[in-house]
């Protein structure tokens, strides 16, 4: 078996009822009840004014989680390669474009078109942080968290570099919501490093497995894990929040999952 090992140096988290990693640890570890409420996306202060006006939900989401993780790791965002993984691009923007294209006036605006690309978050991220490093922008439908984690781990292991993983999804409004019921914005960011340095929170060793993905006993957290692809990474964060060396299985493709051995630092 081929095991991919990396250290987690920083975590960012934002979603319904989860406002950041620091305050969410007590919820994930079961010390405080999980009370879902609509995700509040902060204004993207780091973007120039013109880009800030044009930015959409998925841009605000990834700037919030990514910068939280990188600040915790004490690193400069401009120095890090990145992996963005999402089931789709910005949901609201997609809906508005499809509505216009079905109408008599198909003249969508340049900003709408900018924001329609799957890599809109990666583009704004590099503008905001000044990162000229490589950015892998991925989709694997419900397997997007696992696909992103694998891509980030192969960067760390093969290219011997730190990287930041930004798993993120935003809600589709109706009528697309009925076809793809993602209810809210949710994101996890992880700074991953090849060495187990002073700032490491945990070391993870990841294999492909046939085992079944871990679930939450708490019904609301389990709903969240199932409803939003990026939230399939939450069992990993729960293990770190519980401050225990653990094995977890994360959801990935129908044919294979990710077994993660977590050793706290």
């Amino acid at each position: 078996m081929h095991t991919l090992t990396a250290s987690i140096e920083g975590i960012g988290l934002l979603g319904p009822g989860l406002t950041d990693w620091l305050s969410s640890q007590a919820i994930l570890s079961g010390q405080r009840p999980y009370q879902p409420h609509k995700t509040v996306l902060p204004a993207p202060a780091l973007l120039p004014a013109a880009e800030r006006r044009r930015s959409c939900a998925i841009v605000k989401l990834t700037l919030a989680t990514g910068l939280e993780a990188i600040a915790a790791a004490g690193l400069d965002a401009a120095s890090l390669p990145s992996v963005f993984s999402a089931s789709g691009g910005d949901g609201e923007n997609c809906h508005i474009i499809c509505e216009m294209l079905a109408s008599d006036d198909r003249q969508i605006s340049p900003t709408r078109f900018h924001n329609s690309v799957h890599n809109v978050a990666a583009g704004y991220w590099s503008i905001a942080t000044g990162a000229m490093t490589t950015s892998s922008v991925l989709s694997a439908f419900d397997a997007s968290f696992g696909a992103g984690l694998l891509e980030a781990l192969t960067q760390v292991v093969v290219d011997n570099t730190r990287t930041v993983l930004l798993a993120c999804d935003t809600a589709y409004p109706e009528p697309l919501y009925s076809a793809r019921p993602i209810p809210d914005a949710f994101g996890i960011a992880l700074v991953l490093a090849p060495q187990r340095g002073a700032q490491a929170l945990a070391q993870i060793s990841v294999n492909l497995t046939d085992a079944i993905a871990d679930r939450f006993d708490d019904a609301a957290l389990e709903n969240l894990r199932i409803a939003i692809p990026a939230a399939r990474g939450l069992p990993l964060l729960r293990a770190i929040a519980m401050r225990q060396d653990k094995h977890v299985v994360l959801d990935y493709l129908d044919s294979t999952r990710l077994a993660v051995a977590i050793a706290l630092c």
Partner: protein, 402 residues
């Protein structure tokens, strides 16, 4: 970033289907005959005055019954592409050789099957606004759809993903596959790109004023925008065996970067493009002078070609033959990197530097050895550029085995 130099990867099979032809023979013949696939746009209900590179016969493609849920233009085009040049048979043989779980699928697309959603929005319930019951999001519109279709078509169970970074997508898949192979998770990879015509890109590029009303003219003094095309291009990547035919094609280097500048305009000095080409050369262990031909991204917008020329000059000087083939195929967006890879592979095997089409008067301010007539000569190494929206850049270096 500390790169380990690349162990060359072998493109054991490859194929491309675009508006200039189905498969390698038609593609090579079109390149040799300088035949373009661009024609005035008559796609769907589009009322834009522009040229497009449409693949003939996509609508007639039928998906296998067990994959009927995946039916959309993008996956029909994918299947049409997979059926050429014995590519599907080669993937099946690799599956038998390595095991289904040891082959990864890494495909690029920008818009996937979004056309299906655009059409569904015309058929919303007048009362509830609901989309029609026959609309299936997951297997058509979703960005992952084409990789999911491909892995199910071949029964592959290894890692699978779509890279969707606009027009660099199907160049960057080579990077993801390389890392996955080097990490030991897989033994072979189906890589490539599929992008198909849809209203979002036609009206979107139009809104930016980036669409030409004629067939696009890369590097022409009067160039005034892109022609959108569609294509499916695939390669099977394997580790390099000990013994290879002399004309086998190898991937030697990959360079990836971001502009950190603007969503739809390249960095004015081409810094990101420069970095991608330099990183690709570094990974290949080559000097710029060892590259025989550059397959330019060359979209035919004023700023893209000017900036790419500046970046190429910075890295290579003005002496390396180069051209853009978008005058032939149109800009196939998320498939462009894959099409570029296949055109380079054909060029290496057949000793062809393909001419850029439609260019009547080279832009005198862009000091490059831009190839206006086909050159038939032995070629050892080529570099292919793919740059995209959001400032995403990827350069690939390919070489003949001998």
């Amino acid at each position: 970033m500390a790169y380990f130099s690349l162990n060359p990867l072998w493109l054991s099979y490859f194929t491309a289907t675009s508006s200039i032809g189905r498969g390698l023979d038609q593609t090579l013949a079109a390149l040799r005959q300088r035949r373009a696939g661009l024609a005035p746009c008559a796609f769907d209900t589009v009322d834009l005055a522009t040229f497009i590179g449409e693949v003939a016969g996509v609508d007639a493609v039928q998906l296998p019954a067990h994959l009927a849920d995946f039916d959309c233009r993008n996956n029909r085009l994918a299947l049409l592409g997979l059926a050429q040049d014995g590519f599907a048979e080669a993937v099946r043989a690799a599956g038998a050789r390595y095991g289904a779980q040891r082959i990864g699928v890494f495909l690029g697309t920008s818009t996937s099957g979004i056309l299906q959603t655009e059409l569904a929005y015309r058929r919303r319930d007048p009362v509830t606004g609901a989309l029609p019951a026959d609309f299936i999001y997951r297997t058509t519109h979703n960005t992952f759809s084409v990789a999911d279709f491909t892995r199910r078509y071949f029964g592959l169970t290894g890692p699978a993903v779509v890279v969707s970074s606009a027009c660099s997508s199907s160049a960057k898949v080579f990077g993801s596959a390389r890392r996955m192979m080097a990490a030991g998770l897989i033994d072979a990879a189906v890589v490539g790109g599929v992008d198909s015509l849809c209203l979002t890109t036609l009206y979107g590029f139009s809104s930016l004023g980036l669409i030409s009303e004629q067939a696009c003219r890369p590097f022409d003094a009067q160039r005034n925008g892109i022609s959108i095309g569609e294509a499916a291009a695939f390669a099977l990547l394997e580790r390099t065996p000990e013994h290879l035919d002399a004309d086998a094609v190898l991937l030697l280097g990959i360079g990836e970067s971001s502009d950190a500048h603007h969503m739809s305009s390249p960095h004015p000095d081409g810094r990101g493009a420069r970095m991608a080409m330099q990183e690709a050369l570094k990974m290949a262990g080559l000097r710029a002078s060892e590259i025989d031909y550059i397959h330019l991204h060359g979209t035919a917008t004023q700023s893209n070609d000017a900036v790419e020329a500046k970046a190429v000059q910075y890295v290579f000087g003005s002496g390396t033959p180069c051209s853009s083939t978008k005058g032939a195929t149109g800009h196939t967006l998320g498939a462009a990197g894959g099409v570029g890879a296949v055109i380079c592979a054909l060029g290496l095997q057949h000793g062809l530097l393909p001419a850029g089409l439609n260019t009547r008067q080279l832009d005198p301010t862009l000091d490059l050895d831009y190839v206006l007539d086909n050159r038939e000569q032995p070629v050892a190494r080529m570099l292919s550029n793919s740059f995209g929206f959001g400032g995403t850049n990827c350069s690939l270096v390919f070489a003949r085995a001998n």
